[in-house]
């Protein structure tokens, strides 16, 4: 499963940002920065995605959309909140329609600061996310293995 760490697929969603961070996310995927050369692909389908890159401070209407997207993603999954709005609501923090950060709705693993976040920082955030993804995977396979072993042990116990 080590290839998961090498070429994660990304799901991007704009949850009430100003668009600045979103185009920088896209800029990461296209030439100059071009992370696609490592097999990191922007997918539109949450069931294909490993990393959710989310921008903006979440408003009333997309609360449910964000939850839905997150729940549809298969484990292990990592959430990267991009830009200051996604972290705290940023400049829009005091707007009546802003919940004030992605972590008000779904758990966030990596915060990328900046307004707008620079592509270098976003890539940094993704690299960090890959580490967390690997950890989560190890934990999952670890617990799956443990389960398997208990089952084997139980079966062995029954047979004797």
């Amino acid at each position: 499963m080590a290839f998961l760490k090498r070429s994660p697929w990304i799901l991007h969603y704009d949850a009430s940002s100003c668009n600045g961070c979103d185009i920088e996310v896209l800029a990461c995927l296209t030439p100059l920065y071009d992370v696609e050369r490592f097999g990191i692909i922007n997918t539109g389908n949450p069931k294909h995605a490993d990393i959710l890159m989310i921008t903006g401070g979440i408003n009333e209407l997309n609360r449910a959309v964000v939850k839905n997207l997150y729940e549809q993603m298969p484990e292990p999954k990592v959430v990267v909140a991009i830009g200051i709005c996604a972290a705290t609501g940023g400049i829009f923090r005091e707007c009546y329609n802003i919940a004030g950060g992605v972590d008000k709705v779904i758990p966030v693993d990596v915060y990328v600061p900046g307004c707008a976040a620079r592509p270098e920082m976003i890539i940094d955030g993704v690299v960090k996310a890959l580490g967390i993804l690997e950890e989560k995977r190890a934990k999952m396979t670890g617990s799956a293995q443990a389960k398997e072993e208990t089952r084997h042990a139980a079966e062995a116990g029954e047979s004797t």
């Binding site: 100003c18 600045g20 296209t30 100059l32 005091e94 009546y96 707008a116």
Partner: protein
């Protein structure tokens, strides 16, 4: 009669970097009706005027949208300057024009890329964005920010572009234009692009005007509305003719933007040639008392900031009407009779900027 079905499109959709939702009523594969619903990015930033002083609100205005950010700041600043009767120094007017047109280049190249992606022309998408990076380099070099510049303020601009840098920009324009023309050639003359775009989403001249459409969308239908003609900032000195196409289809909308890229390069070149020396800003004294509808031509069309002050540090109302909002009616008229598979291309052809629309 075939059965009618409703297909939801968005808010999270592969071709859309931003969420918009459409309910598409289909008969087999053909769209009969499209009903938009927005609100996924509504932040309510017009009410932030209660909490930000009028000079600080420029920062919020810039963040209405991360693509046309400089022009939002410009529109807001010009509105306040008009209310307060502030005369902006000449050099500031030229610098504002240079940054505006550089932003337009980055926005149009961005759109051309996304449009190519919408058509499934991946290679062209990547090429457009590669070219866009060189525009962003200029923006970063001159302002410090790639997408949000923060250089415009009430009363002028916040920083200068030195003579050396201007000369360097001027030198870089020729090879840049050559690359843009190479790219534009594909958009305008490639058979597959033409096949995909011509005759798609046609809106006639009278309809486009009556629907109140703005920007390249309306100019592609043969209506010459471009607020740069009114001569704000330095456009009055530079002289300007709007780019107009007549076919009114997706191809025409694409062609207008390609040609506007060339026009912007030309405007920047002339602005650099003519830029006068002088101060960058004037001191802002007092508070705004009065009202004004400030209008600026953004990459997507006419934007309006209605500003109203009552002599205190806080405005009493900022109403922002962005180009995409004005282009929603024309989009609703464009979609019927399109095939479902063409919907993304038609939607992208108005260059929707949802962050702007919903504020």
């Amino acid at each position: 009669m075939p059965e009618r079905i409703i297909v939801p499109f968005g808010p999270q959709h592969p071709v859309l970097p931003e969420p918009i939702h459409l309910d598409l009523v289909l008969e087999d594969e053909t769209v009969v009706e499209a009903i938009p619903s927005i609100g996924y990015i509504h932040r309510g930033l017009e009410r932030l005027i209660e909490k930000r002083e009028f000079t600080e609100y420029v920062y919020v205005a810039e963040r209405i949208c991360g693509i046309c950010s400089f022009m939002h700041a410009l529109c807001y600043s010009q509105g306040i300057e008009e209310i307060m009767k502030i005369e902006v120094p000449d050099r500031a007017r030229y610098l504002r024009t240079i940054w505006s047109e550089t932003s337009r280049l980055h926005s149009h190249l961005l759109w051309l890329g996304l449009f190519a992606d919408g058509m499934g022309f991946e290679n062209l998408f990547m090429r457009s964005w590669r070219l866009r990076e060189s525009v962003l380099d200029v923006l970063e070099d001159t302002s410090g920010g790639r997408v949000i510049q923060g250089t415009c303020k009430v009363g002028g601009v916040r920083r200068d572009i030195g003579a050396e840098k201007l000369a360097e920009m001027h030198r870089a324009l020729d090879p840049f234009e050559e690359q843009c023309r190479d790219l534009g050639d594909v958009f305008l003359n490639d058979e597959t692009v033409k096949y995909r775009l011509q005759g798609l989403g046609v809106v006639g001249k009278d309809d486009a005007y009556a629907l109140g459409a703005v920007g390249p969308t309306v100019r592609a239908s043969g209506v010459a509305i471009d607020h740069r003609e009114t001569g704000y900032a330095a456009y009055g000195d530079l002289g300007f003719k709007p780019v107009v196409e007549t076919a009114g289809d997706c191809y025409a909308r694409c062609a207008v933007r390609v040609k506007e890229v060339y026009a912007s390069i030309d405007l920047i070149r002339r602005a650099i040639d003519q830029i006068p020396e002088g101060p960058l800003d004037v001191k802002v004294r007092g508070t705004p008392d009065g009202e004004y509808f400030s209008r600026v031509e953004q990459p997507r069309g006419e934007v309006i900031h209605y500003l109203r002050g009552n002599g205190t540090k806080h405005l009493t109302r900022a109403r922002i009407r962005t180009p995409t909002l004005a282009n929603i009616p024309i989009l609703v008229k464009m979609l019927p009779n399109a095939q479902l598979a063409d919907v993304p291309v038609v939607v992208l052809s108005i260059d929707p900027c949802i962050s702007c629309t919903e504020r």
